[in-house]
C-alpha cells in the first residue's frame, strides 16, 4: 500500500491540536456515534453488526468439532480472524493478507483470548476425543477510521450471542456459548502531537503512531499494541491508559444491554 503523507492535512491537524480541537469537532477523548446490532446473520451461530459512524463491521461465529491437542486433551479452541478486504476502502488492495491485515486480526484475537472470557475447558465434549472449535470471523465492510475498536466490539458481541449447535452435530442440546467476560478495546492515535481517542479517517491519514488497549471487566489490561513509526513517553501512556478504562466501561454497558 502506498503511503501518501498529505503535508497539508498534517499541518491542519497540528493547528487544530494546538487549539485542542479535532477535524470533526470532537473533543480529545470523545467517541463518535456507535450502534450495535446482534443476531443479524442467519447462517452464523452468533453474529453482530457494528456501525461505528461510517465504519461498518460484521462478525460471525461458526463451530466445528475437532480432536483436541494431545497435551491439552480437555480444551477446545478459539480462532479469531479479521481481514482487511478491498470492499472496505479504496486503499485496500486484493491479494494475500497484508501485514496490516495480519496485525489487525492478531491484536483483536489477543484481546479476546487473553481476557479469559471463554474457558476452553467448557468446550470439551469427550476428553481426548472431541472438543468444540469456535471460529470467529470479522468482516470489515466500510472503513472510515478506527476499525480496531469496531472489530473488537463486533467480535465479543457475536461470541456473547452465539449458540453452540450441539444438536446439528448430534452431541446434545443446543446451548449458549459460555462467555464470562467482556473485554473491550480502546484505540488512540497521535494526531498533531497529542493522542486522541477513536480516530476518524482523516486523523488516521495525517496522524502518527497508534496504541490499542484491551481492558477486562475488572480494569485489568489484557492486550497492548503500539503500531506505526513514532514514540511516546510513559506519562503520555499513563494518561490514555486511564482514559481507556472509562471508554471500555461505557461500551461494555452497551454490549450488555444489547445481548440480553
Amino acid at each position: 500500500m502506498v503511503e501518501i503523507v498529505p503535508r497539508l492535512l498534517k499541518d491542519q491537524l497540528l493547528k487544530l491540536a494546538e487549539k485542542n480541537d479535532r477535524i470533526d469537532g470532537r473533543e480529545q477523548y470523545q467517541r463518535r456515534n456507535v450502534d450495535l446490532e446482534v443476531n443479524v446473520l442467519t447462517n452464523a451461530e452468533g453474529s453482530a453488526k457494528v456501525v461505528w459512524d461510517g465504519t461498518i463491521v460484521y462478525a460471525g461465529v461458526k463451530f466445528e468439532i475437532r480432536t483436541p491437542w494431545p497435551d491439552r486433551p480437555t480444551e477446545g479452541s478459539l480462532m479469531c480472524g479479521a481481514e482487511l478486504r478491498p470492499v472496505a476502502n479504496l486503499k485496500y488492495e486484493p491479494g494475500p493478507p497484508s501485514a496490516e491485515s495480519i496485525e489487525l486480526g492478531r491484536v483483536v484475537d489477543r484481546g479476546i483470548r487473553e481476557s479469559g472470557c471463554i474457558n476452553m475447558e467448557e468446550l470439551c465434549i469427550v476428553p481426548g476425543e472431541k472438543v468444540w472449535g469456535v471460529m470467529l470471523d470479522i468482516h470489515v465492510m466500510s472503513d472510515k477510521g478506527n476499525i480496531f475498536d469496531a472489530c473488537a466490539l463486533a467480535g465479543i458481541a457475536a461470541l456473547k450471542t452465539a449458540i453452540v449447535p450441539a444438536e446439528r452435530f448430534d452431541v446434545g442440546d443446543d446451548h449458549p456459548l459460555p462467555v464470562s467476560k467482556l473485554p473491550i478495546m480502546a484505540s488512540y492515535r497521535k494526531v498533531g502531537g497529542r493522542f486522541v481517542y477513536d480516530p476518524c479517517e482523516e486523523e488516521e491519514l495525517g496522524g502518527d503512531e497508534r496504541v490499542h488497549i484491551t481492558l477486562g471487566d475488572d480494569g485489568h489490561v489484557h492486550s497492548l499494541q503500539k503500531g506505526l513509526k513514532g514514540t511516546f513517553s510513559t506519562s503520555e501512556f499513563a494518561e490514555i491508559f486511564a482514559n481507556a478504562n472509562e471508554q471500555a466501561n461505557e461500551l461494555r454497558e452497551m454490549v450488555e444491554e444489547k445481548v440480553n
Binding site: 459512524d53 460484521y58 481481514e83 470492499v87 479504496l90 471460529m135 466500510s142
Partner: protein, 242 residues
C-alpha cells in the same frame, strides 16, 4: 445440481415447500448508499441471501498491463464471507468465486459505458454475507445498482435471476432446499429495457421446451426486480419511492 428428483419439493396443490407458486420470487429488498467508504453501494436481501456491494472508481488502472487503451476494465470480486454458509468457508478466493467474478465482470462490462473511461479501472466488490442459493444473481443485480449509485454511466440496468427444475417441473428462483435436490439451474442477466442477455449460465438437464419456459419465467421476473432497483435508487435521490 444435486439431481435427486425423488425428494418431494412440490405439494399436490402445486405449491412449493415455502408456499410459493412455480413462477414466484422470494421476498426481495434493495437499499443503496449503505457503505460510507464506497463511491456507490447497495445492500440486497433476496430470501435469506444478503449481498452488499461497494463500487470504487473510475481510477487509473494498474498494473499497466491490465489497462485497455479504448475503455475501462471492471475489476470485480465476488466473495463469500466465512460465516455466510452452514459450514464455515476458508477466507480467500477459490475456483468457483474466481469464475463467478469473471462472468460477473463481463456481464457488467456489457452495460457500463466503458468507452468513456479509457485506461481506467472500476472496482466492484461483491460480498455475500448470508448464502441460501442464488447468490450470483443477487450479487450481479446488486452490483448493477451500486454502479448506478456511484454515478457510473450505463446503457441499461442489469437484472440477474434464475429459473430451474425440481420434481420435473420448471420453477423460478430456487431456494436452498430446491437447489440441493434440483435438476437444473438457469441463471441469466437481462437488460430490462432491451431484453438482451448479458449473462448466461446453466447446468443440469433441460429439454428445449423446459428451457423456453425457464427463460419466460426469468424474463417476467426480471421486470419485477427492475422496479425494485429503480425504487431503491429513487428513494435515495428523490427522497421517495415511485
Amino acid at each position: 445440481m444435486g439431481g435427486y428428483g425423488d425428494v418431494e419439493l412440490i405439494a399436490k396443490d402445486g405449491k412449493r415447500l415455502d408456499g410459493r407458486l412455480a413462477d414466484e420470487l422470494r421476498p426481495i429488498t434493495i437499499e443503496v448508499g449503505v457503505l460510507p467508504a464506497a463511491r456507490g453501494s447497495c445492500r440486497m436481501t433476496w430470501g435469506l441471501n444478503i449481498a452488499e456491494v461497494a463500487v470504487y472508481g473510475p481510477m487509473e488502472a494498474h498494473p499497466r498491463k491490465i489497462q485497455r487503451p479504448d475503455r475501462a476494465v471492471l475489476d470485480v470480486r465476488y466473495n463469500m464471507a466465512p460465516f455466510s454458509t452452514s459450514d464455515r468457508i476458508r477466507p480467500g478466493y477459490n475456483r468457483r468465486s474466481r469464475e463467478i467474478s469473471k462472468v460477473t465482470a463481463e456481464a457488467l462490462e456489457s452495460i457500463v459505458m466503458v468507452e468513456m473511461f479509457p485506461r481506467s479501472k472500476i472496482r466492484v466488490e461483491i460480498e455475500i454475507l448470508c448464502a441460501e442459493a442464488g447468490t450470483r444473481c443477487c450479487g450481479i443485480t446488486a452490483a448493477a445498482v451500486a454502479l448506478a449509485d456511484a454515478g457510473i454511466p450505463m446503457k441499461d440496468m442489469l437484472v440477474s435471476v434464475a429459473a430451474g427444475k425440481i420434481n420435473d417441473v420448471v420453477v423460478l428462483d430456487l431456494d436452498k432446499a430446491e437447489d440441493n435436490y434440483g435438476q437444473a439451474d438457469l441463471p441469466v442477466g437481462i437488460m430490462p429495457n432491451t431484453e438482451e442477455i448479458a449473462f448466461l449460465q446453466m447446468d443440469g438437464d433441460l429439454s428445449p421446451e423446459e428451457f423456453d419456459l425457464a427463460m419466460e419465467y426469468n424474463m417476467k421476473a426480471a421486470k419485477e426486480i427492475h422496479k425494485l432497483q429503480i425504487n431503491a435508487l429513487k428513494s435515495k435521490y428523490d427522497g421517495g419511492v415511485e
